[in-house]
């Protein structure tokens, strides 16, 4: 069926007008009945001016939604520089035109009037407008002064998961050349425990399959994940699995979420008991012999140790810990076992715990036991948060690694200094040369974003660097997404300088009580520049620039250039990158990371290939993501990493990690040999399992020049490649020759090993259930205590037992957890400034079970105080609902601009107040950090609730 277009309303005279006229044209309707009708016309008044209808020629730009990691495609129609329409990209292989509320509101980014419009500084409590030159000058001088006095580690460069890949990479390189590892971004407080836990289990810490591949799932276990609200378009794929293959949708969560409403089975879990829950499932799986014996024997190391631990979790013990009865446990175990392949999906509910790395590894072990990893329809589908949190992680915008997970070892530095064409010694001299508790700053993990507050407040003698932090750059960060609000406020007061670089002022601009020393630099959004973005399933997508930077904002990479120039290392930073005026050429940055990112296969996604994919969305198959015909024929959409070798090699990308049913050249893989060849005398390479077509039909270690020579494959390299590969391995050979030859012989460059259930380098080699630091179940603390306090993790002393040992459960008996709303993202400053979204959620609230509400005399809609176990409290509206159980309350964390009952509205620069303000949930959250990654604990703490 097709509608017959009726031309009347679209045909116009067609005379174009220039942009200025276009923008200036008044919004008052004229002509027609309105003009003729004396009373009708004034009734048509509008609160906000609408976008003008224009007859100017339409340019259609292809971009990617910037709100979550699903990576939905968007057609942006631009007329004379104005974003006039947003059309659904039906041919986009991820979303087929679909959007959630956030995605459907993208166009408003091109019209927002709540943006930060020009550089500003806080002077005597008043916001003062600055020119860019002045701002860079003042900020730069202060940075130089502090560096001079306290060393480079006194400055913290807090980057963003909303950067493009190019910007994220550049920011990490910026910090490296500045001379500090005090650089990080939101992945730390998002999926750091996933990346650490999963990478240490089987090689790469990323979503193994794709959203589209989930159509093939026969069961999906959501634990600590709520895609209906956090990744709504993923639900399109999930519901297809439910409908097409009758897949079991199992939701395990403390809350009955919108996803639970679509589940075939919902299990309410006590927050913070994921490991015990998974062990409870495995207890039934082992008991009934439902595990995949052959798979485990061939591809998994350490499952016997897991069995031994699982034996401690019989049904009654699991019920004691998790609150889930035996029948439910058995039911879920049976559903998972009888519906294979199946996958597990987890998000912040699993990761944001002081036991996060244990949780993520437990999920992996469950899937390994079921033999689900490396299969279509199986996998560990870890949905990332921000649109480019995967890319920013891969590109090393983290305090513990250079780009590509190379780490901070001397080898890593030498690899990258070679790619950068910058002298290693020069870089070395940029760093503080002193050796501290953790080691030399250049080679030790920097302070994490989760703990910059402690980096400011902690006794400098106990910090593993010269001084405490003196200045913070919040370069695309929502501070209200971090725990311990009241202490953050103290830290902000103590800083010498705060610099917010963001399209919006953010909560960082208003929550401190400072009167001076705060700078706001307006950054552009991703729609005002171009570049690549990596979605959750590792596909790289290219974004067109939709509109010119709004107001006086500048794209982040330009601000980095201006800052580097001021700080005196722009020449080194941009040695391989052309700078046009003050704007670094984006594609040059892409090519530079292409040249160095061998570990994760970010090498073959050249700007040209990415743009070819972008221009040919329609050629990619919705089921397999493989292009059928067209310029990208045979490629998987976005060349999901690892996309091996050079662009010329034409690797199609790897749609499913560790899938042995395909050859490596076709995107197949096996588990990575990352942890050596043996442990405690046991072989940890794969046994009797290899990717299709591999010439080594067994396990093998990662490839080096020596291995190639041993195998007699050295002469497959060209003369040039030989020269580059000599003394190198698959990660450091800049010619890509080693990778090319491995793949030619059907082998994975990173070797072929077993996944390890036993991570001997971690605090708990086999994941253990440990009670949260703040728990109401004091009876379990004795049996499942947390770790002892640690003297230094990521340069900072970190507390465990000393917190847990204080029993505050009498005063704070209710468990507090937090999460997302579909309308907002992260700290919400951006989305709460979009009226279309803000209108949908106008009030910060706390979900309270009717039973608890009745006990406390709270009615739906009452204002209540929620006081966290460390005393931070928020005044919010009660939503009495059965979504939560009687001993748990839930708050969304997107709100800000109200602090402990007091509005901060007057502190915003004029014209930048978001449409909706509210208490930050994290004012009430508490201490707690994962020992491996310093992930913050947001999902389980204690509180009390009382009528306000």
């Amino acid at each position: 069926m097709r509608l017959t277009p009726t031309p009347s309303a679209t045909e116009t005279s067609g005379l174009g007008i220039n942009r200025r006229q276009f923008l200036k044209r008044s919004g008052v309707a004229t002509g027609g009945l309105a003009a003729a009708s004396f009373m009708a016309a004034p009734m048509m008044k509008r609160a906000e001016a609408k976008t003008e209808v224009s007859s100017a020629p339409v340019e259609t730009k292809r971009t990617i939604c910037s709100h979550c990691s699903v990576g939905c495609g968007v057609y942006a129609e631009v007329q004379e520089g104005v974003w006039t329409k947003q059309e659904p990209a039906f041919d986009h292989p991820f979303n087929r035109g679909a959007h959630c509320a956030k995605g459907a509101s993208l166009r408003e980014h091109g019209h927002s009037d709540r943006r930060l419009k020009y550089p500003m500084k806080l002077e005597g409590g008043k916001w003062k407008k600055l020119s860019w030159e002045q701002a860079i000058e003042e900020v730069g001088d202060k940075v130089l002064e502090l560096t001079e006095e306290h060393g480079p580690d006194s400055i913290y460069w807090l980057g963003s998961a909303k950067f493009s890949n190019e910007q994220a990479y550049l920011m990490r390189k910026f910090a490296a050349l500045f001379g500090t590892n005090n650089v990080d971004h939101q992945a730390r407080i998002c999926h750091s425990t996933t990346v650490a836990g999963v990478a240490n289990t089987w090689g790469y810490g990323a979503m193994t399959n794709s959203f589209n591949d989930m159509h093939n799932c026969r069961s999906i276990l959501f634990i600590g994940s709520n895609p209906s609200e956090a990744h709504p378009v993923a639900m399109q794929h999930i519901l297809l699995a439910k409908e097409r293959s009758n897949a079991e949708i199992i939701v395990v969560d403390p809350r009955f979420t919108r996803t639970a409403a679509k589940a075939t089975k919902f299990v309410r879990l006590r927050p913070g008991t994921d490991v015990a829950y998974i062990w409870g499932l495995l207890w039934h799986i082992f008991e009934n012999g439902w595990e995949d014996e052959v798979y485990i024997q061939q591809r998994v190391y350490g499952m016997d140790e897991v069995r031994a631990e699982v034996a401690n979790f019989p049904p009654e013990e699991v019920e004691r810990i998790t609150g889930v009865g035996e029948a439910d446990m058995l039911d879920v175990a049976r559903r998972l076992s009888q519906n294979r392949p199946g996958c597990v999906v987890w998000c912040m509910g699993g990761t944001q715990h002081s036991t996060g790395n244990n949780n993520t590894r437990a999920y992996c072990i469950l899937e390994l036991a079921l033999g689900n990893i490396g299969k279509s329809g199986g996998g560990a589908n870890i949905f990332r948060g921000h649109d480019n949190v995967q890319g920013a992680t891969d590109l090393g915008l983290m305090s513990h690694s250079l780009p590509g997970y190379y780490g901070l070892s001397e080898g890593a530095w030498k690899h990258w200094s070679k790619v950068w064409n910058v002298d290693y010694n020069w870089i070395q001299n940029r760093y503080d040369q002193t050796e501290y508790h953790d080691g030399k700053p250049m080679h030790t993990n920097g302070i994490t974003v989760s703990r910059w507050v402690d980096g400011v407040l902690e006794d400098p003698d106990r910090i593993s660097q010269r001084t405490a932090l003196k200045a913070m750059f919040y370069w695309g960060h929502a501070v209200n997404s971090q725990t311990r609000g009241p202490e953050m406020k103290q830290a902000m007061a103590k800083l010498d300088m705060m610099v917010v670089v963001d399209p919006y002022p953010t909560i960082a601009a208003v929550m401190h009580d400072r009167t001076d020393g705060v700078y706001l630099l307006p950054a552009s959004t991703q729609f005002e520049t171009r570049g690549s973005v990596t979605n959750s399933s590792r596909s790289l997508q290219w974004r067109d620039q939709v509109i010119e930077p709004m107001f006086e904002s500048k794209p982040d990479h330009e601000i980095m250039y201006l800052m580097a120039k001021k700080l005196g290392f722009a020449d080194e930073l941009f040695r391989n990158i052309k700078v046009e005026g003050s704007v670094p050429h984006v594609e040059d940055i892409t090519r530079e990371f292409n040249a160095g990112m061998w570990t994760v296969g970010y090498t073959a996604q050249s700007p040209e290939r990415m743009k070819a994919h972008q221009q040919n969305w329609h050629t990619f198959d919705f089921e397999t993501l493989k292009a059928r015909g067209g310029p990208a024929d045979g490629d998987f959409y976005g060349m999901p990493w690892p996309c091996w070798g050079t662009p010329e090699m034409g690797h199609p990308g790897t749609p499913i990690l560790y899938d042995t049913s395909k050859s490596v050249a076709e995107g197949g893989l096996n588990f990575r040999a990352r942890f050596g060849v043996e442990h405690d005398g046991t072989n940890i390479l794969a046994e009797g399992s290899w990717s299709k077509g591999a010439e080594i039909e067994d396990g093998y270690p990662e490839f080096t020049d020596k291995l190639l020579k041993q195998l007699g494959w050295w002469n497959d390299l060209t003369a040039e490649e030989k020269q580059a590969a000599e003394g190198k391995n698959w990660k450091t050979d800049l010619s890509g020759g080693i990778q090319r030859v491995c793949i030619k012989h059907g082998c994975a460059p990173f070797g072929n090993a077993k996944a390890r259930a036993l991570v001997w380098t971690f605090p708990d080699p086999i994941p253990k259930h440990r009670e949260p630091l703040y728990t109401a179940r004091r009876d379990l603390v004795k049996d499942y205590p947390t770790w002892p306090d640690s003297e230094s993790i990521y340069r900072l002393p970190t507390l465990y037992a000393s917190i847990q040992n204080k029993d505050v459960s009498a005063k704070y008996p209710i468990t507090l957890t937090s999460g997302r709303l579909v309308e907002y993202e992260g700290g919400g400053e951006e989305t709460r400034s979009i009226p279309w979204l803000a209108e949908l959620q106008q009030e910060m609230f706390v979900e309270i079970n009717p039973a608890l509400a009745n006990d406390e005399g709270i009615k739906d809609g009452d204002m209540v105080w929620v006081e966290g176990a460390e005393g931070g409290r928020v005044k919010v509206m009660a939503m009495v609902t059965e979504r939560v159980g009687p001993d748990v309350v839930f708050m969304p964390f997107h709100f800000g601009g109200v602090y402990e009952g007091e509005s901060l509205e007057s502190r915003y620069p004029e014209g930048t107040v978001p449409y909706v303000l509210g208490e930050s949930a994290n004012t009430a959250t508490t201490y707690g950090y994962d020992p491996v990654t310093l992930m913050q604990e947001t999902k389980v703490t204690l509180c009390r609730v009382s009528l306000a």
Binding site: L33, A36, S37, F38, M39, A40, E839, L840, Q842
Partner: protein, 348 residues
């Protein structure tokens, strides 16, 4: 003279008949809307239990902020049927019927003339204030009645005749007039009712008056005080039905106190029914006060009535006034100011 009357009476009858025919045509001929069928088409895969709940509107959350609308407005269709099926044609029948009855009555009985010649002596019946109040109220009433009728039936007539632009302005003016004058009418009605309450308290002779049909037909004149039974009935209709009209009108006119959709529906229905009753009865009042009774209109025009008229229609009042005059011979009705006179001549 006689011929002229016949023609005009014929006209009235024809108008009335055409209204009757129109009312039949106006009766809803469309099939009843079926919201269940519409939503059945619009929403799939919802089981019977959920449907029950949809209809009850229990425990639902709406993406519209502060919305208290159920998913389905169950009573909307009921209201539509009440309005379009009953009130609209019913009102037409009521108004048309009333006009017809009056026309037929006029044709058959004619004007109620004075039985005796005018005395030439005048009696004060309505003070200036009272007349002002009456005519203000009457004017407002007429405007509201006309605009109200336009809101109910205007669309069937004027848009087709005058076109969209005229209609748009006309109906907007209608709505503004109705909504802004309505509260004024409410205030006036309350004042008038208060002012004339004591005159309208029912007396024994009023029942006798009614038993004799007000003397309209038999030509006899039953006892009546300052206000006769008919006037008192009109007063009490205004005090009851009129009150319904103004209360329901105010509820609708000020939807700023959280009135629910259901409340608005019911008040609208009551307002319509009550208003139409009032308008229908007002036709009678207007008829009696103008064409139906010789000398009635001049009382409300000038304030004074002829003693003959007073004796014929309000004999008890006439007697009362005469007794009072006898008791206080100093007073001179011709020169005394209205209010003093009123105190004397009006037994309230």
């Amino acid at each position: 003279m006689r011929a002229h009357f016949t023609t005009s009476r014929l006209l009235v009858v024809i108008m009335f008949l055409s209204l009757m025919v129109a009312s039949l045509w106006l009766a809803p001929h469309a099939m009843a809307a079926d919201p269940s069928a519409e939503i059945g088409q619009a929403v799939g895969t919802v089981d019977a239990d959920t449907w029950r709940q949809v209809k009850d509107g229990d425990n639902s959350i709406d993406s519209r902020h502060d919305s208290n609308y159920n998913l389905i407005n169950q009573s909307g269709e009921t209201w539509r049927q009440i309005r379009n099926r009953w009130i609209s044609p019913g009102g037409l029948i009521a108004l048309g019927g009333m006009l017809a009855v009056l026309a037929i009555f006029y044709l058959l009985v004619g004007r109620n003339d004075l039985d005796h010649p005018r005395s030439g002596k005048l009696m004060l019946r309505w003070t200036a204030l009272e007349r002002a109040m009456h005519w203000t109220l009457a004017t407002l009433f007429l405007i509201l009645a006309i605009t109200g009728i336009n809101l109910l039936w205007g669309k069937f007539v004027f848009r087709n005749i005058f076109g969209d632009v005229f209609w748009a302005n006309m109906i907007m003016a209608t709505k503004l007039a109705h909504n802004y004058l309505g509260p004024l009418f409410s205030i006036m009605l309350i004042l008038v009712l208060a002012k004339w309450l004591s005159l309208n308290l029912p007396k024994k002779h009023d029942f006798e008056w009614f038993r004799q049909g007000g003397g309209m037909i038999k030509g006899k004149h039953p006892d009546a005080g300052f206000a006769n039974g008919g006037e008192k009935a009109w007063y009490w209709i205004l005090a009851s039905v009129g009150l319904v009209v103004i209360v329901s009108g105010l509820v609708m006119d000020f939807p700023i106190f959280g009135q629910t959709r259901d409340v608005m529906q019911w008040t609208n229905a009551f307002h319509g029914i009550a208003s139409l009753i009032l308008i229908a009865v007002s036709f009678g009042h207007i008829y009696i006060g103008t064409a139906g009774t010789e000398g009635a209109l001049e009382g409300m025009k000038t304030g004074y009535v002829d003693e003959t008229w007073a004796k014929q229609h309000h004999n008890l009042w006439y007697d009362e006034v005469k007794q009072a005059e006898a008791a206080d011979p100093q007073s001179d009705p011709a020169t005394a100011p209205d209010d003093a006179l009123a105190r004397q001549q009006r037994p309230n």
